[in-house]
Symmetry: C2
Subunit: 201 residues, 2 copies
């Protein structure tokens, strides 16, 4: 059986849980406590050279790391990843934009807020807000004219961007500025098989 190493708060792991559920793919879940550094042990480093979640472990023990790579791997052959080469290139382009431009500013501002360290991190938060708002504006501009990120239906591109964008307000981003993003988030949540983020526990 597939095994997913995740954590309760990780948006990157959340994406994978949603897709596994949408694919009807059974899996075992191992939830790490990142505050205890469980992702930094030598044993875990054997599973992921980058020492973070999510990690998908296949039946034969081999692992796939990085959320975008896991989504693409799992979605292969399903309705969630187009076969057409050009459409596929658009999916990987959006997933790259998410990891390069959106994920870090949105995720780290959220961490600073959840940890209650916004005062110490004020300069960093200001910089991440500038970066994050720029990336969100690019996304909004696309969604004003398109229902989905790629082609005419929901794909792993939408799922890849959904997680941290939907959590951005937890990092102090004013998401009321982005009407088209708000409507798109609702469309993603309404996809069959969508599941909530794990409770903080």
């Amino acid at each position: 059986m597939l095994r997913l190493y995740d954590s309760r708060m990780s948006g990157n792991a959340w994406k994978v849980r949603i897709l596994l559920n949408q694919l009807g793919q059974p899996y075992e879940r191992i939830t790490l406590d990142l505050a205890k550094g469980e992702q930094l042990t030598p044993q875990f480093q054997q599973l992921n050279r980058f020492c973070r979640v999510p990690v998908l472990q296949l039946d034969d023990g081999r692992t796939v790391v990085e959320s975008g790579a896991i989504l693409l791997h799992l979605a292969e052959g399903s309705r969630y990843l187009p076969d057409d080469p050009w459409l596929r290139s658009q999916v990987t382009g959006w997933l790259s934009f998410e990891q390069g431009d959106l994920q870090k500013p949105l995720a780290l501002c959220r961490v600073y807020h959840l940890k209650g360290i916004t005062e110490q991190m004020a300069a960093q938060i200001e910089q991440f807000h500038n970066e994050g708002y720029l990336a969100l504006a690019r996304l909004e501009q696309w969604l004003v004219q398109h229902t989905w990120l790629v082609g005419d239906h929901y794909t792993v591109a939408d799922l890849g961007l959904f997680a941290y964008v939907s959590l951005a307000s937890q990092g102090g981003f004013d998401m009321h500025r982005f009407t088209a993003i708000g409507q798109w988030l609702e469309r993603v949540k309404n996809q069959p098989g969508w599941v909530e983020l794990l409770p903080a526990g």
Copy 2:
């Protein structure tokens, strides 16, 4: 004919020029002057919603954006991208790590040095050096034990990480700390069809 929109200094565009040459693929090159904001015009935004280079334009006018997505698209069916699904997932995992962890700290420190604004940007450079050294250490650890990033030969994963890592010293990174990375950079440069970065011009 394929058309590549690039810039002289972009490491992301350099990757694509190397691969096009390695594939023996003829293309037309349109080199933008980013200092003049040529990537911010409405016309260029029609080609790339993210307003940056590289952009690959296909014969029919459609575009592929984001360097990792362009590499994967061009390499399809070639020796530079494995067919095996798991090996392919490792390629996309490394390309995701590059965009999420390596590219920004390495590229922006290089920009600050090239523009001669390291004093004003000292705090930002310190933070980027911390991030960049951590990512470089993960890469070094892998390369101490492996010749290539994925499988037993050169792939677009190597090419994807090569560009900004090979330019990191221009951003003040002390690359003498990373012996295995240095040897791997030489192996990549020695691949048939490899080409130099464009001169500053």
